[in-house]
Symmetry: C2
Subunit: 139 residues, 2 copies
Amino acid sequence: MKSFKKMLVDKGISPSMQRIKILEYLSKNRIHPTADDVYRALVKEIPTLSKTTVYNTLKAFTNKGILTALSVFENEVRYEYEQQPHIHFKCLKCGRIYDINEKYDYLNDKYIAGHKVIEHHVNLKGICKNCLEKEKEDE
Amino acid sequence: MKSFKKMLVDKGISPSMQRIKILEYLSKNRIHPTADDVYRALVKEIPTLSKTTVYNTLKAFTNKGILTALSVFENEVRYEYEQQPHIHFKCLKCGRIYDINEKYDYLNDKYIAGHKVIEHHVNLKGICKNCLEKEKEDE
DNA sequence: AACAATTTTGTAATTATTACAAAAGAGTAA
DNA sequence: TTACTCTTTTGTAATAATTACAAAATTGTT
């Protein structure tokens, strides 16, 4: 597996310690964290870490296509490690965001009503499996 | 056509002047406005209007299903007058949001990976027809 | 070691939104 | 009309996410 360091170099980003740690965190914690989540997790290891660094780094990674920024119905941005396009499901009860790897017809690079599509996001909202089961138990 | 006043009464919302004007604005301006857009447009007519009223009213209307709240890739909420489910397209160049009435397989009320779907949003990002044409002209 | 370029840090500012209590308005019964 | 209650609106202050920006630290190079 390609090291995070090498990955950054390949993308033309100089691999500082902070940047490597942030990338590593996103790769190992597939929980769609906010910038603040990333900061709170890493400041334990890097006590001098600054939020501005986190914001700058997440933005830079997103621009380079290393991460994807999500707006799943909330007014805070969440990030995820780049992977195959997939569906996001947000539970209205517990707030968790699930990845759903169902097939759908990607419109990326296609034209629709004359508009050129670059990104195609599918966001679902509802009650997740866990919460549905809990509801049943409570009956 | 049902009056805005009657529409509110039917939904169990007492039809104050502010509420009627806000609903009327959303109905007549299908531009996916933010709360601030609504405020700035209406404060001309209603100089005493408060932003809190706008926020409260938009939230109440959304809860009653009169409006839909969108998070189309930005960290600000936009609102639209309730209508058939449709696709949203956000232009990366001009920032405009277009409604696209293409057919797609609505997952509402269905189950996917055991999760119950209540809302299904499709958000596209790209370059809109207008901006594509302008790009061509500039060549 | 000295220098230049890059990166990180910390603080202040900005923006969207919410909390909350006082003021205003509307409806109703005496 | 007046008194009373309930609802809605208003205005201000607080919160939360994000950005701006300049100083400090780090890195690589001569």
